[in-house]
Amino acid sequence: MSATTGVRPTKGYLMDTKRRIQVVERGTEFLKLKRDQLAKQLTESLDVLRGRRGLLLKSLEEAYGALTAAYLSLGPTEVKSQTRAIKTPLELEVLPRSVMGVVYPSVRITKKPEIAAELDITLAYAAERVYKIMEELIHLAEFEERVERIAEELGTTNRKVNALENFVIPDMRAVIKFIEDKLDEESMEELVRIKLIGGAKASRR
């Protein structure tokens, strides 16, 4: 279906369309700015994410090594018994946060697990490493979710900008051109008609 189908070629409609195209073009500019900003954020976030994942892998290796060593040194029963002395569980609070209108969950640790027993130094060291990983994992999960949502928003914004630039604005321009042509044609016809009437009136005299 053509963009001009059903268009009323009136001056009022032309003015209305011109006003609308101005709004749409400004909106498109804003969306482009948002898209560029989101793209920048995404690129930066991906770099950070890559770095954090690398660090997490290193921490995981360290924690796994420390835990393995604790098991090898103390035996599974003693490890099991000592870990029972960790009374308070990890407590988290999840709150919504927003970046450029993109809402993502922000996680805050409200209560850390408390090691209440006289843990063996090997196990205490392993426990510290494991807790550090839990913290890193929580922050990484938060960051990944943020990146994912930014990427989704970037995709949506990009589609909107493309649709506006490639379809909506050209269609509106076509409508404007169509109305202007129509109005020019009408005014030309009107002029010719006036001229003809004027000529006829003059010959009658």
Partner: protein, 341 residues
Amino acid sequence: MNLGLTYVVLRTHARIADLLNKDQMTELAEAADIEEFLERLKATPYGEVEVEMSDNLALSLERVFTQKFIERIQSIVAMTPAKLGDFLRAYFDLRFEVLNLKRILRGKFTESTVEQITETLIPITPHLVDSYEPLIEAENLEAAVMLLKGTAYGSLVDKLELYRETDALWPLELALNYIYASTTMSLGNELPKRNQHIVNSLTKFETDVENILVALKRLGKTGLDLNEVFPVTYYVERRDLEKVMASESLREAVENLKEPYRGVMEPIKTGDIALVRAMVRKGKYETVSKARASDEFGFNVILAFLVYSEIEKDNLVGLSWGEVQGIPSEELMKYIVIPWG
């Protein structure tokens, strides 16, 4: 010379030769999986080990090795002249009992079930308490501690206030460490003079090491009641431990220690904290070996053998756990101490 003791010492020398050497340990560590590990174990003095292949295989194997160790103690005690035998039984029973009490208290602290607590206990006959059941079944931790009133562990009741204040188990655990050290020392004092040295050296070494580890964990903490945290000290005094806690880093803390403790704690400097336990075992081995060397035909040989056996038990527990987890042999061997190998 006591002929009975000479007989036991000679039998013990033969048993020391039966302990697993480095090649046997390496062979066990290099087993592809736990089935192969058990197959290889058959060729050692441990023989065939029957365990159920379940999720708790490592725990079952630990129980088997602990049981074998207890049987070793019992067989040695049965042959040893009364006074020395009584000491050995009391020494190891006390070690296990203190460990059992710690495990019961940890279980009560986190409200674990009776079954959960029971499965972690070492299967020994209670030594200085009548039974573990009432403690396990006590309503809560405080009720369990109150049941210890009137026993050798009665001083734990006085630590309840600090336990309530801190809502932490460490005051009770440190009090148990104190009871273990002081009771062992007084047990050792009942031995003939020439045998007291090995017991004293071993107990003092163990206590000092544990105190240093407690201090290292409290690095940077000030304002602590040192008498509360270190109820008993020997060669490493409270002021030394205070210096350890005041150090700016673990490395500095270790460097300020005197030998042999600096050597034992050396792995901490490279970040391999877990290797400290292996070094502690090595330190215990060296302590008893030195004492054994001074009297190759006396009681020291028997105690040394039991300490070696305990280290072997710990090694096998670690190895079997590692095999169940599929950990490479190089990694496993790192934490194994086979000093006689």
